[in-house]
């Protein structure tokens, strides 16, 4: 997550610890792209984390499902979002029940953004693993 509108994994445009309030990252819009058509169909698209944030004090990851794409922007607040770490394998975020057939982008977008509070500690946060799940027949 970063303060720039790109998907490059680097340390440029880092999040800034504000003296007060919050610094919000640009949104990341993620969507399942089917490159090989399923034999029958895909269904039950989900997004989840491991349920435990390793990002440390004052760093939060937020998530929401959005059907229609909009140009990613720098977030200005958490309205409409849910703490991404409340979505785990037992309580995942639904990205569409389906069924979905053929190739191409399917289901809702998972929109993620990061919030850094004044209580955060300087440095690179540990990596996290996010999971997209789907059923296929």
């Amino acid at each position: 997550m970063k303060n720039a509108d790109n998907a490059t994994v680097d340390n440029n445009n880092p999040m800034v610890i504000p003296p007060s309030g919050s610094d919000f990252s640009f949104e990341k819009w993620l969507r399942l792209n089917v490159t090989v058509a399923p034999s029958v169909q895909l269904s039950n698209l989900k997004f989840y984390t491991d349920g435990t944030s390793g990002q440390g004090t004052g760093v939060k990851l937020w998530a929401k499902a959005v059907a229609s794409y909009a140009t990613p922007a720098e977030a200005t607040g958490t309205s409409g979002y849910t703490d991404a770490f409340t979505y785990n394998s037992g309580a995942a975020l639904s990205l569409g029940a389906g069924p979905f057939t053929s190739t191409g982008e399917k289901g809702d977008h998972a929109v993620l953004m990061q919030e850094v509070l004044s209580t955060a500690t300087q440095g690179v946060t540990p990596s996290e693993t996010i999971t997209f799940s789907y059923d296929e027949i």
Binding site: S39, E128, S133, I137
Partner: protein
Amino acid sequence: MTPMHFDISQDADGARHAVSPDLAITVLPDGESRMFHRNAIKKNSATGETTHLRALVAELNGVRLYAIGGHFILTTQDLYL
């Protein structure tokens, strides 16, 4: 490691089969049943590296068998990988 893929089919009498090069699972038509693959794409937020996991799920009357490689789990739970 490439996730194990099963070819899923159904007989005229309702029996379902999942066949991979090393394994075959059959659900006899004794009630409500289904078979499907449950897939998980895990993405590392720092490196962007992705890992693909897959289970074969065979269900009969609400009891599910999850086959994940050589690990088999029998449960009524809706498990995610």
